[in-house]
Each structure stands twice: as structure tokens, then as C-alpha cells.
């Protein structure tokens, strides 16, 4: 493994963290800075297409992803993402292009019309994966300056993180984030809902479905005795933090619990300030929780 100071990745923030969920982007950059990891934002990246572009125009969605991968390939580094949907879609594009030479050729011809080319060599990584597997326990522990002991955390990975590829984490009972939370000094409570779907866009298109799915996740987190839920995806985050009142009413249970990004919790263990972690953006009482338990 390389020296910490030389770790550098291309970075694909993704559309949903430019405004609504910018706290994730801000806290990720702060944490990376503290860890000495360079995240170089991909120049003029475009939307990866996410789960909503695929069902309308599949090949166009491959072109969208491939343009980003082409830009990353020029930079010659692995591509870090922080959104589960981006992570899956970019990897899916890589896989389809690798398994289908004809498709790869068509996509390359399309890229060429805009002066680009993609050879297929970029490895796509989730920032959670980078932190746990590239940096590892020792590096993380050595940066912890604030005591998180006594803080109980329900780690929510979301449904797509290790699906369908099944190679990053257990697709049913993920443990990557729990390990990280343990290194920070907090306690990851047993949380069987970690990979159950929050409903995604159904929260908007079919609220009754979205509310039931998100409701179960929040209810079980509370039952498990968690003080908060951590997420690693901006879409999961907005569903879990944004509708707690309506969700609680829909399922007839108390669903109010602070929800924050794993990067915000990391930063708080590393002694970073509220501003660097964009805590004021939270829709749940994250600031109060961290002030009480951690002293952030």
C-alpha cells in the first residue's frame, strides 16, 4: 500500500450533492483533507444518468457514464464516488462495455463525435470503500481526536451499494460501515435494515410506498437503541431525514432520529468543526446530538 500522502483519486461528486445534499460533498472533502487523500474533481463532469435515465434510453445512459469515465481515464486515476446510484451506474457501464465489444465500439464512436475516447480501464470506487480498504484501521484510528464512545449508530448502507455486483460488501447484511464506525470509537448497533431499500424516487412518485419502506428503516433503528443513523448515499439521506413526520404518521410509529452522513461522523471524530462538516444543513437534530455526545 502506498504512502498516505500520495493517495490521489479522481472525484465524481454527482448531481445530488451540488445543492440539496452539498453537506455530503463538503464533509467528504474535509475528511479527505484531514486524511491526506487527494480528491481531484473530474473536470466538467456530467450526470451519470442514475436509475431514472436507464429505463428510458439505455444506450444514451451508457454514453453519459462513458463521458465521465473517459475524462477520468485521461487523469489516470481511480474514480471515487459518494453516491450509491452513481457508483452502481458507472460500474454497470464499465461491465456492459467490457462484456459487449459491439456496444463498446458504438459508445466510443459516439464519444468520438464529441472528441473523446474511452478504453475501459477506469476502476470506480465508493469513498466508503477507499476509507475502509485503502486506508484501513490504523490510519483511521490514528486520526481520531474526539471520543465517540457511548454513541450508538445504526449504519444504513442502502440497497444498491453492493448490488448487483456482490463484491464490495455483503449484499444482505453489510458490515463495511459498521467496521469504520467501530474504528471511530462509536458502537454500531445490530441493524438488520442496513441494506433494505428506502424506496428511492418512490418517495415522490408513490409516497405510500416510499413512506412504508423508509418508516421501517427508521423504526427499527430506534428499536435497536441507536442515537442516530449514518448513510453513505445522498438519496438515502434525503429520504431518511426529509420526511420523518409524514413517515411516522403513515406507519404509526415514532420515526424521529438524527440522520447524518458517515463522513460527518468521521469528521467529528477527527475534531473537524461544524462548518467543515456542514452540520447546519441537517434537517434532523444532528448538531445537538454531536454537541451533547461528542462536543463538536
Amino acid at each position: 500500500m502506498n504512502d498516505e500522502a500520495t493517495r490521489a483519486y479522481s472525484y465524481f461528486p454527482g448531481c445530488s450533492v451540488t445543492a440539496t445534499n452539498r453537506a455530503y460533498d463538503i464533509s467528504t472533502r474535509s475528511v479527505a483533507g484531514a486524511l491526506g487523500v487527494e480528491l481531484a474533481e473530474l473536470d466538467d463532469w456530467n450526470c451519470c444518468g442514475a436509475t431514472a435515465y436507464l429505463p428510458i434510453r439505455e444506450k444514451r445512459s451508457f454514453v453519459l457514464s462513458a463521458r465521465n469515465l473517459a475524462i477520468a481515464e485521461k487523469q489516470g486515476r481511480e474514480l471515487a464516488t459518494i453516491c450509491n446510484a452513481c457508483y452502481v451506474v458507472l460500474r454497470k457501464t464499465n461491465k456492459h462495455l467490457a462484456e459487449d465489444p459491439k456496444l463498446h465500439e458504438e459508445v466510443c464512436q459516439a464519444l468520438a463525435a464529441g472528441g473523446m475516447d474511452y478504453g475501459g480501464t477506469v476502476r470506480v470506487r465508493h469513498f466508503l470503500d477507499i476509507v475502509v480498504n485503502d486506508l484501513g484501521e490504523e490510519a483511521i484510528r490514528s486520526h481520531v481526536t474526539r471520543d465517540l464512545s457511548g454513541l450508538k449508530v445504526a449504519c444504513y448502507s442502502g440497497c444498491q451499494l453492493s448490488r448487483p455486483f456482490d463484491d464490495l460488501d455483503d449484499p444482505e447484511y453489510p458490515e463495511l460501515m459498521g467496521r469504520l464506525i467501530g474504528w471511530l470509537g462509536a458502537e454500531a448497533v445490530p441493524f438488520p435494515m442496513s441494506a433494505k431499500c428506502c424506496g428511492g424516487l418512490a418517495m415522490t412518485t408513490r409516497p405510500e410506498i416510499g413512506q412504508t419502506l423508509t418508516g421501517k428503516i427508521l423504526k427499527v433503528a430506534k428499536q435497536a437503541g441507536a442515537d442516530c443513523v449514518t448513510t453513505c448515499c445522498p438519496l438515502c439521506q434525503i429520504n431518511l431525514e426529509g420526511y420523518q413526520g409524514a413517515v411516522g404518521a403513515a406507519i404509526g410509529a415514532d420515526c424521529s432520529i438524527p440522520v447524518l452522513y458517515f463522513t460527518q461522523l468521521m469528521g467529528s471524530a477527527f475534531g473537524l468543526g461544524q462548518k467543515e462538516l456542514a452540520l447546519k444543513d441537517s434537517l434532523t437534530p444532528v448538531k445537538a446530538l454531536l454537541a451533547e455526545k461528542v462536543g463538536t
Partner: protein, 188 residues
């Protein structure tokens, strides 16, 4: 709908499914129902994943595409990771969604309206802009359904979390050229 139409739908679907990695495994479905039991949207679907395969085999795919089913899929991949036959069912759902849109069978579906609004927004900006996306979506469905979103929108607004004017990427013109080029030999 006539039987001929149903057969044509099945044929078109299978052609597309066979092009997917491991798509041919759909023929090995043993009708165990693991997919349906794992599906978070099953309660609202008229036909669950297992019944979709059964309908396909019975030449009755039209009833699935005329129902509320496929756009309720939230792409969680639970069916895919658990299927004992290795069928990538979440991807089959994507194929069904595409087929439904192509055949004009998804007019009333909220999910399809959302997906189309998303595609337009991304095509306009090179990125997704949530405020524009939601405006398009609610204007085309039921604007009053936007009302429950207002408290959240206000909270986001006061925290400066709403992007009102979407920025466009610099390479938008080149991106459009790329999309036009793939469109030329697009088959599905």
C-alpha cells in the same frame, strides 16, 4: 389487446433480455417466488416478479404492461441477488420499463413521468437539477400532490439547499453531439 400483439411484446422483450449479461437465464426460472418475496414493492404491484415470468411464458405479457406493475420497481436488486437461477431480474424490469414507454403503454404512470422529466432535465443541462425536475414532474401529474412537498422545500430553501437556476456543463454541445451519434444506431 390481441394475442398477436402479446406475442410480439414477448418476442421483443426476450430479444432485449438475451442481450443482457446472463439474460438467457430467464429460461431457467423455476417459479420459486423468491424474487416476489424479496421485493419491497410487491404489495402495490398487480403482478410480482415471479408472475411476470409466468405471464411471459403464457404469452400474456400484455396484461403486465397494461397494469401498474413495472414502474413500481425501485431498482433495489433484491430479486437479482437472491434468485437461485441467477436471473438478473432488476435488469429485466428496466427492459420492461423501456418496452412500456416505447409502446406508449405507460401514460398514467408516475414513475414513467418522473423518468422522462429526468431525461429532459439531464439533456438540457448535462446534469440533473432537482428543482426543475420536480417542477416538470408535478406539472405533468397532479400539481396538488406537490403540496406535501412544500414543508420540505421550505426547510431546504432556508438552509440554502435549493438550486433555483440550474447551471449547464461547459461541454454540453459536445455531449449533445455524442447523444445524437448514439441515437443514430440506437435499436432500443
Amino acid at each position: 389487446m390481441t394475442t398477436a400483439k402479446a406475442e410480439e411484446l414477448s418476442r421483443e422483450l426476450l430479444e432485449n433480455v438475451y442481450e443482457l449479461p446472463h439474460g438467457e437465464k430467464i429460461n431457467e426460472c423455476i417459479q420459486c417466488g423468491t424474487c416476489s418475496a424479496s421485493c419491497p414493492s410487491i404489495a402495490a404491484m398487480e403482478y410480482g416478479p415471479r408472475e411476470i415470468v409466468a405471464s411471459l411464458r403464457a404469452g400474456m405479457l400484455d396484461r403486465v404492461l397494461n397494469s401498474n406493475t413495472v414502474w413500481l420497481c425501485v431498482s433495489c436488486y433484491s430479486c437479482t441477488i437472491r434468485c437461485p437461477a441467477g436471473i438478473p431480474f432488476a435488469d429485466v424490469m428496466y427492459e420492461l420499463k423501456r418496452l412500456e414507454v416505447e409502446k406508449g403503454l405507460s401514460k398514467d404512470s408516475e414513475g414513467a413521468t418522473m423518468a422522462k422529466a429526468f431525461v429532459e432535465t439531464v439533456d438540457d443541462h448535462g446534469r440533473s437539477v432537482e428543482t426543475k425536475l420536480l417542477r416538470k414532474y408535478f406539472l405533468r401529474t397532479n400539481p396538488f400532490k406537490a403540496l406535501p412537498q412544500v414543508p420540505l422545500a421550505m426547510k431546504l430553501f432556508f438552509r440554502g439547499r435549493l438550486e433555483i437556476f440550474g447551471r449547464k456543463i461547459k461541454g454540453l454541445e459536445n455531449l449533445h453531439k455524442m447523444l445524437a451519434a448514439i441515437e443514430e444506431n440506437e435499436t432500443k
